[in-house]
């Protein structure tokens, strides 16, 4: 049951779900949720390959960096969301059109 492919399939499902969330949702926070899912799918792949293929811990280190970057990204992203909400009173992504035209 446990093999590289099973982890890859879980990661693929996570990735697709994250993609669907990112594309289908118009709520900026929900898009960030999708991004988290996609990042975690990638990190899971790294760790799985690290165990089943490369036999060293570089994959672990990579996924640690992914976690760090995800944390930084969500902090900045949510700060932008809050600022955006203060200005536009909405967090609908289609409302972010100030630079259009």
């Amino acid at each position: 049951m446990m093999s590289l492919v099973s982890y890859l399939i879980i990661s693929l499902i996570l990735f697709i779900v994250g993609l669907v969330v990112m594309i289908a949702r118009k709520n900026i926070i929900a898009i960030l949720l999708g991004i988290e899912l996609i990042l975690n799918a990638a990190a899971l792949n790294f760790v799985a390959y690290s165990r089943y293929v490369t036999n060293n811990l570089d994959g672990h280190v990579f996924s640690l960096f992914i976690i760090v970057i995800a944390a930084a990204e969500s902090a900045i992203g949510l700060a932008i969301v809050i600022r955006f909400f203060q200005i536009k009173e909405t967090i609908h992504v289609d409302e972010a059109t100030q630079l259009r035209n």
């Binding site: 993609l19 990112m22 594309i23 118009k26 898009i31 992504v93 289609d94 059109t97 630079l99 259009r100």
Partner: protein
């Protein structure tokens, strides 16, 4: 005999720490931190004294040195060595220099705590003074030109700050700027010289330079047609000229007395001006290789004589001292030039001591009577007995009276100069060096005693200027009867007395007069002559380097001892030795005669008043001297106003007259024709076809792009994914 970072670094670091503390917290400390600065210099003095003791009192050989390095940064890549080392280099010369600098600086600090008391710039003064001292100590400790240059520039900055410390006076600000800019001229050349050396040997450490000279790496290298050794040596010497106020670049030093007198003492006596001579001594092998010694000797002679003549007519007590400093620095340069390495360095040390004492004494006089114009002083002997004693000792020393240190060192220089000029078979024109040297010595004796007589002897003239006395801030202090009698005080005149003790010649020479004629304490007191000698460059080839942190692994018992043998007699294998000895004997008698002659004339003129001052006989020349040979005017009126402004005017004329009229206007005419053509082209081709056509094209293209460039982030995701997927499907991994 452990030499580690721990017992060398405090010499340099303790004044730096005092500087940092005073700079940031000085105002909160009691007495604005002056005790801290003084204490820090005392710590340096203690550590320097230890090194001095080891080096001088029979522990090490003549040619022993400590050289410890660490890598500052290493950018080497493969075969390209690009590495800069820093380190410490202490030989006998540096050890003596360290003791002199820290000792004199300590006494000056001590004196300053009295002199600057209740001064509004008290705290600021004691910020820069330790930094200045630390920079000089660091310069002496440096093992390469690069760190020497760093400390050199720190000193330049500190002298700038100290000269201009009374920043509300415009003259002080101007003087500080002048000092800064003038020395900068020399510094640029010094940097150039360093670059030239780096080009050849890839290092600027002294030992590497010596080794390169010994290995002949400079041979055949040329820069702009002249030998590279000459070029580098000349550039470095020009740097030294700027710092040591030699002939064309001497103009900053007289103005430097705008600062407080103890600061002047530190600048003029112990530290900054000595740096140039010290550098020339360090680079002596390079000067010899570059055949520059005659040039150095001539510059030194001109400076020594010229400055002495200017000093004849100065009325400000500090100005006399300032010009005498320039003159004495000239003697040191003569010493370097004529190959009397040891005497030049001895003169540096002796001069540092007696000139520091002279400046401090002048400071004592000024602080006591608030007057520095000599014609308004006089008869201060009975008010300021200790100051008078100290100043008299130093004046005797500088005048070259036997038994005093100035006689010993200056006479050796002059003796070598005599040999150099007349006997060595050089170009006969170089006889100018000893002639100017001896003439300058006579003038030195004269003007120094003139200063003494005007200041301390005769009747008191303090009462004669009541009419304009109120101009001074301390109006009630300068009446003659208000001068308080001087008392022995640890801070005000004990430093002077300590310094005046060391104006005796026996400390430096083995005999009373330094000629080996009357030997006092045996051969061992001729330490100076034995220990200090020009570096033997062959010794430095392939000399191993010691890591900075390592302790000295050599056992004391195995170190070669300095031999106090009979080197002082001029009876070596050199056939010229006999001639040198004769020259020295002749020189000694000549300088004694000349010195006494100078003193005697001064006595007749200013005490007996049997000879009228010569000024009235040569009014034109006196005027020239008063204006310092018009050097300031030369620089300002001729070089800057005529030269630079003239160039400026020429350029502006060229710009407005030639360039503007022909090039610009002509070009405009050409353009007018082109304009007609291009207007037609623009209207027909560009506008109709290009612009409107492009607009239409863009509009069409836009229809497509507008759909893609929707600004919707999700649409971009979709595009991204589709492109990636199609890539993966096509490449068929």
């Amino acid at each position: 005999m452990e030499y580690t970072v721990g017992n060398i670094a405090p010499i340099f670091l303790s004044p730096v720490i005092a500087f940092v503390i005073n700079a940031f917290f000085g105002r909160k400390l009691p007495r604005q931190g002056d005790w801290l600065a003084t204490l820090s210099i005392f710590i340096s003095f203690i550590f320097s004294a230890r090194i001095f003791g080891d080096f001088v009192f029979g522990t090490f050989a003549t040619d022993f040195f400590i050289h410890k390095t660490f890598t500052w940064f290493d950018l080497s890549h493969g075969a390209n060595i690009w590495k800069v080392d820093m380190g410490i280099y202490i030989d006998n010369m540096a050890a003596i220099m360290l003791l002199m600098v820290s000792g004199v600086a300590f006494l000056i600090h001590l004196f300053s705590t009295w002199y600057m008391d209740h001064d509004e710039k008290h705290g600021r003064f004691f910020v820069f003074l330790p930094l200045f001292t630390s920079a000089m100590l660091g310069l002496v400790l440096s093992d390469n030109l690069f760190s020497l240059f760093i400390f050199w520039e720190i000193m330049g900055f500190c002298s700038y700050s100290l000269i201009g410390i009374y920043n509300k006076k415009e003259a002080a600000g101007d003087a500080s700027l002048k000092a800064f800019m003038t020395t900068r001229v020399g510094d640029v050349f010094l940097l150039l010289g360093m670059v030239a050396i780096w080009m050849v040997i890839g290092s600027v450490a002294y030992v590497d330079i010596y080794a390169a000279i010994a290995e002949g790496k400079f041979a055949g290298q040329t820069v702009i047609g002249i030998s590279l050794a000459t070029f580098a040596g000349l550039c470095i010497f020009l740097g030294g000229m700027g710092k040591s106020a030699q002939f064309p670049l001497h103009v900053w030093l007289p103005d430097a007395m705008m600062g407080p007198t103890p600061g002047s003492a530190l600048i003029h006596a112990a530290t900054m001006v000595a740096a140039g001579v010290y550098l020339s001594l360090r680079m002596y092998p390079l000067m010899v290789l570059g055949d520059l010694t005659w040039f150095i000797a001539v510059i030194g002679a001109i400076t020594a004589f010229g400055a002495a003549t200017i000093a004849l007519v100065q009325t400000d007590i500090k100005a006399v001292l300032a010009f005498s400093t320039i003159s004495q620095l000239g003697y040191m340069m003569i010493g370097v030039g004529v190959g009397s390495y040891n005497a030049a360095f001895m003169h540096l040390i002796t001069h540092a001591i007696f000139k520091a004492c002279l400046f401090l004494s002048a400071g004592s006089v000024i602080h006591s009577v608030h007057e520095q114009e000599m014609p308004k002083l006089g008869g201060l002997r009975k008010y300021l007995p200790y100051t008078h004693f100290a100043m008299m000792c130093c004046t005797l020393a500088i005048a070259g009276i036997p038994f005093f240190s100035g006689f010993v060192s200056k006479d050796r220089i002059l003796g070598d100069a005599l040999y150099f000029g007349f006997i060595a078979g050089q170009n006969p024109l170089l006889a100018i060096v000893p002639i100017l040297g001896f003439a300058g010595a006579g003038l030195t004796a004269f003007y120094m005693f003139r200063m003494m007589f005007l200041t301390f002897y005769g009747e008191n003239r303090m009462g004669h200027h009541d009419s304009h006395g109120d101009e001074h801030a301390h109006g009630d202090h300068h009446h003659g009867h208000d001068i308080h009698h001087e008392h022995l005080d640890a801070r005000s005149n004990v430093p002077l007395l300590i310094l005046s003790v060391f104006t005796l010649g026996v400390w430096f020479a083995g005999s009373l007069t330094g000629q080996g004629i009357v030997k006092v304490f045996g051969e061992k007191t001729e330490w100076f002559k034995i220990l200090v000698e020009a570096p033997k460059v062959e010794r430095f080839v392939k000399h191993p380097r010691e890591a900075f942190g390592s302790t000295d692994s050599r056992v004391k018992a195995e170190l070669p001892k300095a031999k106090y043998d009979h080197q002082s007699g001029y009876a070596g294998p050199n056939p010229d030795d006999h001639k040198i000895h004769s020259a020295h004997v002749v020189g000694a008698w000549m300088s004694i005669v000349i010195a006494f002659l100078g003193v005697f004339i001064a006595f007749l003129m200013y005490i007996k008043k049997s000879i009228k001052p010569l000024a009235s006989m040569f009014p034109g020349y006196t005027e020239t001297l008063k204006n310092k040979y018009y050097f300031d005017n030369l620089y300002v009126d001729v070089i800057i106003k005529k030269g630079l402004l003239g160039l400026n005017r020429f350029l502006s004329w060229f710009d407005m007259g030639i360039f503007d009229r022909f090039a610009v206007d002509g070009w405009a005419a050409v353009n007018r024709v082109l304009f007609k053509a291009s207007k037609w082209f623009d209207n027909v081709v560009v506008d109709a076809i290009g612009v409107d056509g492009t607009g239409v094209a863009v509009n069409l293209f836009n229809l497509v792009l507008r759909i893609v460039q929707s600004g919707k982030i999700q649409f971009y995701f979709i595009m991204l994914i589709v492109v990636l997927a199609s890539y993966i499907w096509t490449v068929n991994i």
